[in-house]
Amino acid sequence: MDLKELYQEIILDHGKNPRNKKKCDGFNKDAKGNNPLCGDKVHVFLKLNDEKQVEDISFEGEGCAISIASASIMTEIIKGKDFNVAKKILENFINMLKEGSKPGINSLSDNENTTIMSLSGVKQFPMRVKCATLAWHTFLHAAEDNKKVVNTEK
């Protein structure tokens, strides 16, 4: 287990200067997520157009560097993507954290792949996987109009 793999430059940067950390204009879907054990909270705002494309996505919340960085990276990567593609990215991302598989997706640029891979070190810290997946699960709830608050303990 290596701390350097967990706290990579990209993660520290997104943790300190999160992208899209606001309520985006004209959002038409949103959902909340909680990690009751730690007190992490996230609120994802989503603008999904008629073609089911993620026109805009943002988040608000508080949490550790991992959870904030993961939310920030998610918004960067998912913005502009078709919902079905976004869903596939999410599935691959979660598999990466739980099973260590590579997230390699054809639709992602090299840069996007590098960014998302920066979170792969979390797998070695089982207690932190929930921090990294919270925003992603919350995005799915928002997109699918699931009004239930995401709870990492359920």
């Binding site: 701390l3 520290l12 730690c38 007190g39 992490d40 909270k41 949490g63 560097a65 991992i66 932190r128």
Partner: protein, 405 residues
């Protein structure tokens, strides 16, 4: 007092964590167990085990005697007047739930008031919330100030003729504040209001005399007292235990069972339904002996010394903010580091073998009041030394190196 020698009695410290020496600073969460306690449980199962209080055979008699011995030891440890005042529960949480349920059933009516404080652990709030939902009770929160103190006045001004109970913690599990229990109880007595003390962070560290303290209820968590998990103790004055209805129903807690009615025995039997954590309760006797062999006053003194050393050291570390500044502090140091979330602190410290807890520590009301979502907490036990604090401080510097470079 030779702390190295005392520490050597805890097998866990002979293991490495991530190749590092274990620096255990999470005793407020649960303490480590000395070998005598671990061995006692194993021996009991190997040589003396049987269910207690039921069968007539020799093993049952021995097991029952061992089990009841623990009750006597606890009675003496806290200086209760009668052994019947000691009720075994599965944890301190259950002790509070027992009182909320039974006292609530009998004495709480719609609009009756229960006073707690903003410092309380969820275990001393949620059970009263159930009563609020079930019976329409009103819960009032005595305010804590910036230092983390709850003054007697802040409780006094909440008291009305509807106040039916005051339930407060002995020591805050976040700020370490030792509450002015004597004054709070004196005040409550003048108004004839019973007082429940959540003693989870008090009993393992401070000398207790429940007769002198004159509280009505005091709950303890045995796994925080170098004892096994699964055991809690409820102390309650006999007059209450005589008056309160049973809590859970089942075997062992009945007097006579007929098709049309059931009668119940006296305390503690009335409150101990079903088979209890027999081996753990027997094992807990060794925890009490372990504490008494060192001397609870020596424990208080040693932990005070290390806490003060820790305070001094962390205060010098500019990146660190200590949570609360109570006049009387137990063996707890909660802190934040500028620009680093407590979960990240905990992960980085863990890499150095330093075990702390990060989060809201089951005190969301207090964290909301302080305006911070989470804190990092170092809490001490008898095995901690100044060296542990030095390693903690070094590791905090490492957090800064990773994050604030």
């Amino acid at each position: 007092m030779d702390i190295k020698e005392i520490k050597s009695k805890f097998p866990i410290f002979s293991n490495k964590v991530k190749g590092k020496k274990l620096v255990y600073l999470d005793s407020a969460n649960s303490s480590q167990k000395p070998k005598v306690v671990i061995d006692r449980i194993s021996n009991f199962y190997s040589k003396e085990f049987s269910n207690v209080g039921r069968s007539m055979h020799s093993l049952a008699v021995t097991a029952t005697n061992r089990f009841e011995e623990t009750r006597d030891l606890i009675k003496n440890f806290i200086n209760a007047k009668f052994r019947e005042e000691i009720v075994f529960t599965k944890n301190a949480t259950e002790g509070i739930n027992l009182i909320a349920s039974t006292y609530g059933e009998k004495f709480i009516q719609d609009k009756d008031e229960i006073i707690i404080t903003e410092l309380e652990h969820h275990a001393n709030y949620v059970p009263w919330h159930f009563l609020r939902k079930r019976k329409g009770a009103v819960i009032k929160f005595a305010e804590c100030d910036k230092q983390g103190e709850v003054s007697v006045d802040s409780i006094k001004k909440l008291i009305t003729n509807k106040t039916k109970l005051i339930a407060v913690t002995h020591v805050s599990n976040v700020t370490g504040t030792i509450l002015p229990l004597n004054k709070i109880i004196d005040l409550a007595k003048t108004k004839k209001i019973p007082v429940l003390i959540d003693g989870c962070q008090g009993a393992p560290h401070l000398k207790l005399d429940v007769q002198k303290l004159d509280c009505d209820f005091y709950v303890m968590s045995c796994h925080k007292m170098y004892g096994p998990t699964g055991v809690g103790v409820l102390y309650a004055k006999k007059k209450w235990l005589d008056e309160l209805p049973p809590y859970q129903g089942g075997g062992g807690m009945i007097d006579e069972v007929k098709k049309d009615d059931i009668s119940f025995p006296e305390s503690p039997t009335k409150f101990e339904a079903g088979t209890l954590q027999t081996a753990e309760i027997v094992g807990f006797a060794e925890s009490i002996r372990f504490i008494e062999n060192i001397g609870i006053k020596n424990i208080t003194q040693h932990e005070k010394e290390i806490t003060e050393y820790g305070l001094e050291k962390l205060k010098k570390n500019n990146s660190v903010s200590i949570i609360g500044d109570p006049k009387e502090r137990g063996a707890i140091l909660s802190f934040t580091i500028k620009g680093i979330h407590p979960h990240d602190i905990a992960t980085i410290l863990d890499d150095d073998g330093v075990a702390i807890r990060a989060g809201h520590h089951c005190c969301q009301i207090l964290h909301e009041k302080m305006g911070i979502p989470a804190t990092a907490r170092a809490s001490l036990g008898i095995y901690n030394s100044k060296e542990d604090i030095d390693i903690l401080n070094e590791s905090i510097n490492k957090c800064n190196k990773i994050f604030n470079n």
